[in-house]
């Protein structure tokens, strides 16, 4: 067989980029395929308008000037679900987005492109809660620690700096009786600055009249555009927010062993049978998203890193062996959103400033962890996405119809519209908002299936179904009360609980669970030479914490396993 690479990786996002760099460093020839565009690479000078080159394999192809042109800091341009540069869709913006069938009032928010959903992510890097892993996963938390440490050192991960919005949250948490957590291994409740994969603020920029326009220093500038794409830094490899686009990908290119092909949507996993190995993976079929050309690529090992929806979809569309857990066990952290609005005088008294500006500082820089329940974390961002998350998303309809009961600690529940919306948004600079991530249970009924009739250019489209359990709802309600208590103790005048529908998919995990679809090396139980290295292989929801760091730690471990198993001669 003619091999195109030692290893093909499907998806250049949070997990795939890690495997590419790790294997490239160990001397493997890697072909990294990505369905979406490649921003900041001179081989694609107009990534949304022209096809550009087939591939890139040199660090010298990267250009910070091009990245700064591509990432405009305009939230509709970058993050509109239908037309944005980060949408789940093809590079060509003359075409519509790609399809998911989300059963319900929610939505899925994932990115296509080199960097995957780390393009828009907040860069939050907490570890899993040990109690959600130990004696639950088929591997121990202790076994993950050296891989956590390696990823934390590589990205790198730092304690986020506090601006007014974080300080208000910490103030409220302390007033509510909580203490600060000191260890990254969280075993009891408390608050802490986010461990973020964002370079430290450069102290030279810390003056009132600093010229940010001509800033060429390395480090975060607290400009609040994390979600819309960070381009702050003198080179692509030193951009402040450590999306894999600017961290693991440039490191992978630097090894000289990695070739990256964007605009390449893998449509099938190819397998062969051998008397010695049994069923094994031999390569992939792909389709070019610009031209529609199809082709085949062969490798000794293939790694699936397309994310919690696309990895099971690809397995099912490839008609790989039946497994009752393929696509199943989906957790999404059953999100919710709570916001507090503050008077200037109260802020002045409690904080010493009269505004908390959601658009200043890192988008998500403070968190509260509660093993057994989940997570509460602050967030702030540009106003279009902010208002649609806070006020336009609810399972409960319009707030006029919802009268909170006596047990609620919040004043309003549900969507907000009309004059009330304008009034609340007038208070945008005095709003502190939090996201809630519930430690939701694994349920085999939740997951990804294929629509039996509907296809797009790449195969049958995925159907995403999720219903929380009774226990999940109780946990989320408890977290909402805890969040409201913190916001109120910080001095909130008005508290709004959005009560999000259950089918909002940002953290999409455990749809190809380790131990059920793969062995403990993350190699598919039923198809040799096929590995999984994205959020889908996680065993559960980690207790509630943001999944990226754990996926990246596991992907680092999986890379070692691949070399040991198939390339150790």
């Amino acid at each position: 067989m003619d091999y195109d690479a030692d290893v093909i990786i499907i998806g250049a996002g949070g997990g795939g980029a890690v495997v590419a760099k790790e294997l490239g460093e160990k001397g493997m020839k890697v072909l990294l395929l990505e369905a979406g565009p490649y921003y900041g690479n001179t081989k694609w000078p107009n990534p949304n308008a022209e096809r550009g080159a087939i591939s890139s394999e040199s660090y010298q192809d990267l250009s910070i000037d091009l990245l700064k042109r591509n990432f405009t800091d305009l939230e509709d341009d970058m993050n509109d679900f239908i037309t944005g540069k980060f949408r789940w869709g093809p590079a060509n913006r003359a075409e519509g987005p790609w399809i998911r069938d989300i059963v319900g009032r929610g939505y899925a928010w994932q990115n296509a492109g080199v960097g995957g959903s780390t393009l828009h992510y907040f860069a939050n890097c907490p570890r899993a809660y040990p109690q959600a892993v130990n004696d639950v996963w088929p591997i121990s938390y202790e076994e993950l620690i050296p891989y956590y440490e390696k990823v934390e050192a590589t990205l790198p991960v730092h304690s986020a700096p506090a601006t007014a919005k974080e300080n208000l949250f910490f103030y409220g948490a302390k007033q509510a009786g909580w203490s600060q957590l000191e260890s990254p291994n969280v075993e009891s409740p408390g608050f802490r600055p986010q461990p973020n994969a964002i370079l430290r603020v450069n102290q030279n920029t810390n003056t009132a009249d600093y010229d940010f326009k001509n800033n060429h220093t390395v480090g975060c500038t607290l400009r609040g555009h994390c979600v819309n794409g960070c381009h702050i830094g003198p080179t692509v490899g030193s951009v402040a927010k450590r999306s894999t686009l600017v961290s693991y990908i440039p490191m992978a290119l630097n090894t000289g062993n990695v070739v990256i092909r964007p605009n390449t949507f893998v449509t099938k996993i190819l397998t062969q049978d051998s008397p010695t190995e049994g069923l094994f993976c031999s390569g992939v079929l792909y389709r070019d998203t610009w031209t529609g050309e199809t082709g085949q690529l062969n490798a000794k090992v293939v790694v699936m890193s397309g994310g919690g929806i696309e990895t099971p979809r690809l397995w099912l569309n490839s008609v790989l062996p039946t497994n009752a857990w393929v696509g199943r066990g989906l957790v999404n952290h059953y999100f919710d959103c709570v916001a507090g609005i503050y008077d200037e005088e109260v802020l002045q008294e409690n904080l010493g400033v009269s505004n908390v500006k959601p658009f200043v500082g890192q988008n998500a820089a403070a968190r509260f962890d509660y093993p057994g329940l989940g997570v509460i974390q602050t967030f702030g961002m540009s106003p279009g996405i902010y208002s649609s998350m806070l006020y336009a998303t609810s399972d409960k309809g319009y707030n006029v119809a919802n009268v909170p009961n006596n047990e609620s600690l919040w004043d309003i529940e549900g969507r907000v519209a009309g004059e009330k919306l304008k009034e609340f948004m007038m208070n945008y600079p005095r709003t502190l908002s939090v996201l809630i991530f519930t430690d939701d249970e694994v349920n085999q009924k939740n997951g990804i299936t294929l629509d039996p009739f509907q296809k797009d250019a790449f195969g049958f489209i995925p159907v995403v179904r999720y219903k929380p359990s009774v226990k999940d709802k109780e946990k989320r309600d408890t977290l909402a009360k805890l969040a409201s208590d913190i916001l109120r103790k910080a001095g909130a005048k008005t508290i709004i609980r959005s009560n999000w529908p259950p089918d909002v998919f940002l953290h999409i995990q455990s749809t190809m669970r380790i131990g059920y679809v793969t062995d403990t090396n993350c190699e598919a139980l039923q198809v040799k030479r096929l590995y999984i290295a994205d959020n889908s292989v996680l065993f559960n929801g980690l207790g509630g914490p943001n999944p990226t760091l754990t996926t990246q730690a596991l992907a680092t471990r999986t890379s070692e396993k691949i070399v040991h198993q198939y390339f150790n001669s």
Partner: protein
Amino acid sequence: MIYGSSTQDKQNAGEEMHGIFRIPNCSVVAQNNHSQQHIQITFKAYVDTKIPQTPNLAKQYGNIQFFGALDFDTDEFLTYSLNQFDIPLADAVADLLDITAKQYILVNGSNVTKDESMYSSGSAFASLSPNDRTNALNLLIENQIDFTLLPEPFQNNPDFIHSTMSNLNRLTYMGYYSEWFGYGSTRLATPNDRILEFNPKSWEQIEYPGRSLGYPLL
């Protein structure tokens, strides 16, 4: 009230998937009997319900707070967004709103004040007062509309209805509070050709200074 449909029904309808919405391919293209003007009137009424002009807020907090979605053409953003798919959706959504309004009027009879000339020219949703429009939307969200009377692709398809109405709400806020209106004369151009000509006035309403390259940590 009948809602929901069997897999068999959907199979018979021979649906096709386009964009992020499921759209039965049977008759959406054929149903192009509403003018652009009708879509505009209906969507103006919708966005006005969500983000109205607010003279009260203007009196209390300054003239800038008067402006609402009608002033910043947010209805155009909805039409623009909904028509990005292979089968444009704006027409069907305008129909959905009108039929919902008609059912609301039927249920509430004399309690509803409507603009007769608007109603008889086919713009039932826009003929209602803002309060009645909100109530009509609530009826839809709470599954109290007869789904068999809805136009394709919404007929007997509550999942698609709810996901569309949620997305419509999010799109409205995104269109109003994002930079979109600031694209000015290029706001309806293809995404690659839009140029920010000014900061939209919605940012002034909420004290958002716009894009930044940094803030000092003082």
